[in-house]
């Protein structure tokens, strides 16, 4: 075993050089950006570059020992024992993390959920997943990355019986989880489009949402804030939910209606925009009534506000007689004919408050405890985040809820629990990751043939195997090439390099989500990016700054190198057969570094790395 101090001490001398490399790296990126942006924005970049460099130098001056991945963390727990095996790991590198208090115990809900599913598993021979596999899927689902070797070593050093549950609880309280979950939820709330320049700030909205999630604010309050609050998009970031609908300085209520309908009600009422819904009982009039809830909104240079005198007007085709309302007073004969639409909700009209702006009333109506669609929609989306697939697919088109009080499937069980415990999203996620389903192996005897595989998936008889999305993939790639955890505590240089790498990768790799937001299998060009792209080469390159190089230089022998590479990339140890087969890569190479590069490239391009299992 190589002592932890040796790892850290051996790298201290390279901090200055690394800083130089990092600055050079960023300057290259800035030059790229310089070439790709318009002239008008270029004027600001030199100043920005100076600020970045000054910040880096200041950070280096304050923390001379803090390299990108070598400095001690705030708790003194961040040194990395490069152990050969679990048995060789130190007994403890610090106190075991305490599970954050999530309020009400979730055990009863977990047990009830498991009981409902147990009947479906009774006839199947089902194995639980090993702890490291559960750790990996928890990290991928909740934090959008894989655990670092540092975290794995600390986990292995934790000898307590309930370490998996406690480590996942710790992750749920981690800012990484808040950031990732905010990104996932934001995609359903504000989509991917850039939106109108200046008035829509997705980054502000996502950061605000992450803050709310980190504080574990009841989600009904979060929804109320983004639906009903006013103000400027920078000072009140929640209003970016509203300004996402701005186009050509006009608010498109259709955008907001679709978001509310799908993300917050789990219904595709927006399909009734042009005509009555062909399959569901929603009518065009109901759609328009929902859209009219945004009819009072006015967006000015001072921000979002509501004007009680405003009402949604819908243009009429020129040849159609106006069925409702009258032409605006004083309008010229050739003015567009419109009809005014009052707000109206498609169900639960009795929950609509008597007073308030239309948006306030809509928010109150949506989060009303009697509105089971709201709680079911949130639960179904969280199931999709945790398991990679929703309980009901597509995730935003749920069947009608059962009658009040009836619980006919686990979704209702969880939705009622979510409602009864103050829309506590962290509790909901704790329940989901605490279920037996989350701890099952993804392997199953029936998965050998297609019919059996479909049956397993249909019965949720094994953990679903789903593709890792592009965001999580690049985060995992970057994490896998650092032995230390990369998070908000990491050095500014590390985080900056990660930021640019993620941006570059996503620009080239592109999105793979389908219309329902589910990641899809990679395409041929994407496979080429992974196999032959510049980033792939940089990440597996054996140098003192990558996990590849450090493992090659510091691990005791090829067996230890193989084990560490597997831990870093796949969060598990190799089997004996794998160790033998892939060990040949190390043995056949003319140098340790080259062998490690080959092994890491293989692991990075394996199906196992790219699929959550």
């Amino acid at each position: 075993m190589i002592p932890p101090r040796g790892v850290a001490a051996g790298c201290r001398g390279g901090v200055g050089y690394k800083l130089l490399v990092a600055v050079g790296f960023m300057m290259t990126r800035l030059l790229t950006v310089w070439r790709s942006i318009g002239r008008s924005a270029r004027a600001a970049l030199p100043a920005l570059a100076l600020v970045v460099i000054a910040t880096l130098l200041a950070a280096a001056a304050r923390s001379p020992l803090a390299g990108p991945s070598f400095g001690p963390g705030p708790q003194g727990l961040r040194s990395v024992p490069v152990a050969d095996s679990p048995a060789a790991a130190p007994a403890s590198t610090g106190p075991a993390p305490a599970a954050p208090d999530t309020g009400v115990p979730v055990g009863a809900a977990v047990a009830a959920f498991d009981e409902i599913l147990a009947a479906r598993w009774r006839e199947a021979g089902i194995d639980p997943a090993d702890e490291l596999t559960v750790l990996r899927r928890a990290w991928l689902s909740l934090a959008g990355t894989i655990p670092s070797v540092e975290e794995i070593r600390r986990f292995e050093a934790d000898r307590t019986a309930d370490r998996v549950d406690r480590w996942i609880a710790m992750l749920l309280a981690d800012r990484r989880a808040a950031d990732h979950l905010a990104r996932r939820l934001a995609r359903s709330l504000v989509g991917d489009a850039e939106g109108q320049f200046i008035v829509f700030r997705r980054d502000r909205f996502t950061d605000w949402l992450a803050g709310r999630l980190e504080a574990n604010e009841p989600f009904d309050r979060v929804v109320t804030a983004m639906l009903a609050h006013g103000g400027l998009w920078t000072e009140a970031p929640e209003v970016n939910f509203i300004t996402q609908a701005m186009s050509d300085d006009r608010l498109d209520a259709n955008v907001l209606t679709a978001r509310v309908s799908r993300a917050l009600l789990g219904q595709r009422i927006d399909c009734a925009q042009c005509h009555d819904h062909p399959f569901a009982p929603f009518t065009q009039a109901q759609y328009e009534g929902l859209a009219a809830c945004f009819g009072q909104v006015r967006v000015t240079g001072l921000g979002v506000e509501d004007d009680p005198a405003r009402v949604l007007s819908i243009d009429l085709p020129p040849a159609v007689e106006e069925p409702m309302g009258e032409a605006p007073a004083g309008s010229r004969p050739m003015a567009p004919r419109t009809r005014k639409v009052p707000p109206r909700v498609p169900f639960g009209a009795e929950w609509w408050p008597a007073q308030g702006t239309h948006r306030q009333n809509l928010a109150t109506w949506i989060v009303d405890p009697r509105n089971r669609r709201f709680h079911r929609a949130l639960v179904n989306r969280c199931v999709a985040i945790v398991f990679g697939r929703a309980w009901h697919e597509p995730v935003d088109d749920l069947p009608d809820p059962p009658a009040a009080g009836a619980v006919t499937d686990p979704l209702d069980l969880l939705a009622d629990d979510f409602r009864d415990h103050g829309c506590d999203l962290r509790r909901l996620l704790s329940i989901l990751v605490g279920t037996r389903l989350f701890h099952l192996s993804s392997g199953h005897p029936l998965r050998e043939d297609e019919a059996g595989n479909d049956a397993v998936d249909g019965a949720w008889a094994a953990f679903p195997i789903t593709p890792v999305g592009p965001d999580a993939m690049i985060s995992s790639l970057v994490q896998a090439t650092s032995l230390r955890t990369i998070d908000r505590d990491s050095h500014l240089v590390t985080r900056t390099i990660r930021f640019f790498r993620e941006v570059d990768f996503l620009r080239e790799y592109g999105r793979t989500d389908d219309a329902n937001g589910r990641p899809q299998p990679a395409t041929i060009p994407q496979t080429l990016v992974r196999m032959n792209g510049r980033l792939a080469r940089e990440l597996v390159e054996a140098n003192p700054f990558t996990a590849t190089g450090r493992i090659a230089g510091l691990a005791r022998d090829d067996r230890a190198r193989c084990d560490l590479a597997f831990l870093a990339m796949l969060t598990r140890y190799p089997t004996t057969e794998e160790r033998t087969a892939l060990g040949d890569l190390l043995a056949a190479a003319p140098s340790r570094g080259q062998g490690m590069e080959d092994l890491c490239w293989v692991l990075m391009n394996s199906v196992e790395f790219r699929w959550n299992h």
């Binding site: 192996s441 392997g443 595989n453 219309a515 041929i524 990016v529 080259q594 199906v607």
Partner: protein
């Protein structure tokens, strides 16, 4: 910056339509056998990102309050004048149809690009496929080992496969003329073989207990496709090594010029859809110098592309569409720029199934009337292009969200289609 290489008129005539065939390299027998209208359709979209000014290109109004300093020149179409910055296109405008009255409903770059490319306004819950993806999806590409849909250049709002799937996202090449991105392994062949063997072994290991699930990942299939592409002789289509200096010079020694030349090579190889992007038209300031700089790049490249396709008997099967997300305002702002204007702008079309030499629409020379005469909705332009290339835009497909959707939102403009006008 004006980085196009100037080509003398004499030099241009040497490689222009009638003379170009002398410079042609020998063609592979298979490709040479498929020529004329019988050849399967293809689409080349020349995407002018940022919003080209119609007043500084194909719809100038010199001497009017909105015309600015731009001058107009006569073209090969009697009575039709275009901006003086496009002399080569002026000489061959009779081979195009020109629409001067395109009307969009989106004045934002991202939304306008989406509408122009798909025919549909952006939908918050459904991503519509771009023209290129539809063409690649609907037209067979037998024997093609490289992607059916290729995008050349850096497009700020790239086209997508939308609900047709990520497999119809374009293969993007940011620096046209190179062999293609990410196609060369980082290591030698022996080492690469060992690496691939390792991946295979690891896949087998992972498949234990989940064989069908791993098959459904399509991982093996996709990797084999990637390896086949890396070794394909068709990759030569991305390279310009086989092209003579005369042809390269005709297209212009610019990234965009090289992109147009690569586009011709890709179409010749059997790629169904190619987009070539020329960015830099968003001239909110210094409009006239900015648009002129872009014209110096666009004019030779586009003229050479159309002449080259025609000389190789590929134009009868290939539609060339030249358009941006919108036009620019008739008014000139205090920064000597023009802003976004979706209410009447220009697009050029030529090739398979299209009438040539037709000019549709007219904008107000005084800039007082917003609506152009004979307006053509951009959704109808998309439907027209699909019809011209042989795709039935009225075909209804079921999207992944279960919503039936026509491939084209608009209706083809019969006057632009050779078999309907």
């Amino acid at each position: 910056m004006r980085d196009a290489v100037e080509i003398s008129r004499r030099r241009w005539l040497q490689v222009a339509p009638l003379g170009l065939s002398f410079a042609l390299p020998a063609l592979p027998a298979r490709a040479a056998a498929r020529r004329g209208a019988e050849r399967p359709g293809a689409l080349v979209t020349i995407w002018l990102a940022g919003g080209p000014s119609q007043l500084e290109s194909f719809d100038p109004h010199p001497g009017t309050p909105i015309g600015g300093p731009t001058q107009a020149i006569a073209t090969s179409l009697p009575g039709v004048r275009i901006a003086a910055e496009y002399p080569r296109l002026a000489e061959m405008l009779d081979r195009f149809s020109l629409v001067r009255s395109l009307v969009s409903r989106e004045g934002d770059h991202e939304r306008g690009s989406h509408l122009l490319r798909t025919g549909y306004r952006p939908d918050p819950v459904l991503l519509h496929p771009g023209l290129g993806a539809i063409v690649a999806s609907e037209l067979a590409a037998d024997g093609l080992e490289i992607p059916r849909f290729v995008a050349l250049g850096n497009d700020p709002h790239p086209s997508r496969g939308g609900y047709l799937g990520a497999t119809l996202d374009p293969y993007r090449v940011s620096d046209p003329g190179q062999r293609g991105q990410n196609l060369v392994p980082h290591v030698g062949s022996d080492r690469q073989a060992r690496r691939l063997e390792g991946v295979e072994r690891l896949s087998l290991s992972f498949a234990a207990g989940r064989a069908a699930a791993v098959r459904q990942t399509l991982d093996d299939h996709t990797r084999r496709g990637a390896l086949a592409m890396m070794e394909s002789e068709q990759l030569a289509a991305f390279s310009l090594d086989e092209e003579t200096e005369a042809i390269r010079a005709a297209y212009g020694h610019t990234p965009f010029g090289r992109g147009c030349l690569v586009a011709r090579r890709l179409v010749e190889t059997g790629v169904r859809s190619v987009e070539v992007t020329l960015a830099g038209f968003d001239t909110h300031a210094a409009n006239f110098t900015g648009q002129a700089a872009q014209a110096a790049i666009l004019d030779p490249a586009l003229a050479a592309l159309v002449a080259d396709l025609e000389a190789r008997d590929l134009l009868d099967s290939t539609v060339v569409l030249v358009v941006g997300e919108f036009g620019r305002t008739p008014t000139i702002n205090p920064l000597d720029g023009r802003d976004h204007w979706p209410h009447g702008f220009s697009g050029l079309l030529t090739g398979a199934g299209l009438v040539r030499g037709r000019v549709i629409g007219e904008t107000d020379p005084q800039g007082l009337v917003r609506q152009p005469s004979d307006p053509i909705d951009v959704a109808d332009l998309v439907a027209t292009v699909l019809a011209a290339v042989g795709v039935d835009g009225s075909r209804e497909v079921t999207t992944p969200i279960g919503r039936p959707m026509k491939l084209a939102a608009g209706r083809p403009v019969d006057r632009l289609l050779a078999d309907r006008s």
